[in-house]
């Protein structure tokens, strides 16, 4: 028994938070949406959105996945009115999931001040409906856990990342779906990773996903490598990759997801975040926050975020657990960190001990305990343009007989 009480949604999914999301559907509606959230001043009312005025199937899919995320109890859509975003398709997907949803079109509601006021009333109605969501026991096997690294340095691959790998091994063994990502940060690891695939066909797909990332980043002219990585002792993309890869632990890889795909079973999945086809819309992920949004779009109830240099971010919708790799960073930024994995460097703990601490914290946070970034009010969210082909047949495990 996990002891977790989840929010049981009408579509049968279970969440660990009961968030009302206010979503702007173009940058022109951002201010109104933000004002509604700010004036509501409730830690479980979050701002999300998409800034572009041009249509994009990926953005719609991600917004639909997030609007129907198990941690979501209701959604308010804020549209300017003339933008391309298909607000009816988004609303229909949320409605079909049984979650309450309302739409306010600024051009049809008297403009800024009036829409903000109506929006506050709508959020109050949505909060009331979300508050009626029944709770039900939730097993570890019903959890989806993401992992990401940000602000990596030479300690990340020695402490926090392999410690998360140990936690992932335990969570996966208990039946949870565990999702790791950033194929651009797996460049150099493709061969060893392919050997962990549950089928040879999946192994081929894993290698192909990393080759795609390498080609894409080569056109962009930069790897997934920031100056702070170098200041922290990492020299090359493949060195960073080896450290990042250890977040995945040692379990077999059962499938590949693309943003917005839901893992059909428990086990370890790679999230392929690099767009398909020609290079069109710029960098695959312009910042760590975009990767977290994609993990959430794959159903992640919470995300394990490892950092060496000291990322402070959290996210909207799903809590982020911050695992600090570098003991010097932890001393400087302890108020932003959940786990001191850097103690492994100083002989004050082992990988297994920190892995167990992360596992226990996942269950506590799933049970309602606020993470540090959550308590600080972090709600970062960013979604930009991308293009993907659907995943191929080799990418998913055979559905379990029910």
């Amino acid at each position: 028994m996990s002891g977790i009480q989840g929010y049981l949604r009408a579509d049968g999914r279970k969440g660990i938070r009961n968030v009302v999301a206010v979503a702007y559907l173009v940058e022109c509606a951002h201010h109104v949406a933000r004002a509604i959230v700010t004036k509501t001043d409730d830690s479980d009312v979050h701002l999300i959105g998409f800034p572009g005025c041009f249509p994009n199937a990926y953005a719609l899919k991600v917004m639909q996945a997030i609007g129907t995320h198990p941690n979501i109890g209701g959604v308010l859509l804020i549209s300017l009115g003339c933008e391309s975003f298909n607000r009816e398709a988004l609303r229909a997907a949320i409605e079909a999931s049984g979650r309450p949803v309302e739409t306010l079109v600024i051009q049809e509601n008297g403009g800024t001040a009036s829409t903000i006021e109506k929006g506050r009333q709508a959020v109050a109605r949505l909060k009331a409906l979300a508050g009626q969501t029944p709770v039900a026991p939730m097993d570890i096997s019903e959890l989806v856990i993401g992992t990401i690294c940000g602000g990596s340095d030479g300690t990340s691959g020695i402490t926090a990342n392999p410690a998360v790998g140990r936690a992932f091994d335990r969570l996966g063994a208990a039946g949870a779906a565990c999702v790791f990502e950033e194929t651009g940060e797996l460049v150099g690891c493709e061969t060893i990773m392919a050997h962990r695939a549950i089928t040879p066909e999946l192994g081929v797909e894993l290698e192909a996903s990393v080759r795609k990332a390498e080609a894409y980043y080569t056109v962009m002219g930069y790897g997934s490598f920031a100056p702070g990585n170098a200041e922290g002792g990492l020299t090359t993309q493949e060195e960073k990759s080896m450290g990042a890869y250890s977040k995945s632990g040692s379990a077999p890889i059962v499938g590949i997801l693309k943003p917005g795909d839901q893992p059909p079973s428990g086990g370890l999945y790679l999230l392929d975040v690099v767009p398909d086809g020609e290079v069109r819309f710029g960098f695959p992920n312009i910042s760590d926050n975009a990767e977290i949004v994609e993990l959430i779009a794959c159903g992640a109830h919470l995300t394990l975020f490892t950092t060496g240099r000291g990322s402070v971010v959290g996210s909207a919708i799903s809590p982020v657990i911050k695992v600090c790799a570098n003991p010097e960073t932890y001393r400087k930024l302890s108020g932003d960190m959940d786990v001191d994995a850097g103690r492994i460097m100083e002989g004050r703990g082992t990988l297994n001990e920190v892995g167990d601490e992360i596992f226990d914290l996942v269950l506590a946070v799933a049970g309602g305990r606020r993470t540090v970034s959550e308590a600080l009010g972090h709600q970062e969210f960013i979604l930009t343009y991308k293009a993907f082909d659907p995943i191929g047949p080799a990418c998913l495990p055979l559905r379990r007989a029910s």
């Binding site: 030479g154 020695i158 690891c189 002219g221 930069y222 002792g233 493949e238 080896m242 060496g308």
Partner: protein, 100 residues
């Protein structure tokens, strides 16, 4: 001070604490005088490295030497490079065609 050996095949070591030029450290049981200060998380040469040598960390190649390094010396962007995609610093411009 003993730097961390992550894999028996590695030819670089990772620092768990900073080292200071001239102050002896231990590499494979023998005392070595490092030629410069190096920070936590950075790499030093486990043995003398030559131009073109593959740098091994976690037992895997993480790039190639572009300049020689003596034992105990800092191994970083000044003397090694990626075999995949070049790394960049804050001096990078994000220009339209980095390959130019």
């Amino acid at each position: 001070m003993k730097p961390i050996l992550l894999h028996p095949d590695d030819n670089v070591l990772v620092l768990a604490e900073p080292i200071t030029a001239g102050q002896a450290i231990e590499i494979d049981g023998a005392p070595v005088i490092p030629p410069q200060d190096v920070a936590v998380g950075h790499k030093i040469a486990r043995r003398a490295l030559s131009v073109g040598d593959k740098v091994l960390k976690y037992g895997a190649p993480i790039g190639s030497m572009t300049a020689a390094a003596q034992i105990g010396a800092h191994v970083h962007m000044h003397n090694m490079k990626s075999d995949y995609i070049a790394s960049h610093t804050r001096l990078a411009t994000g220009g339209e065609d980095p390959g130019r």
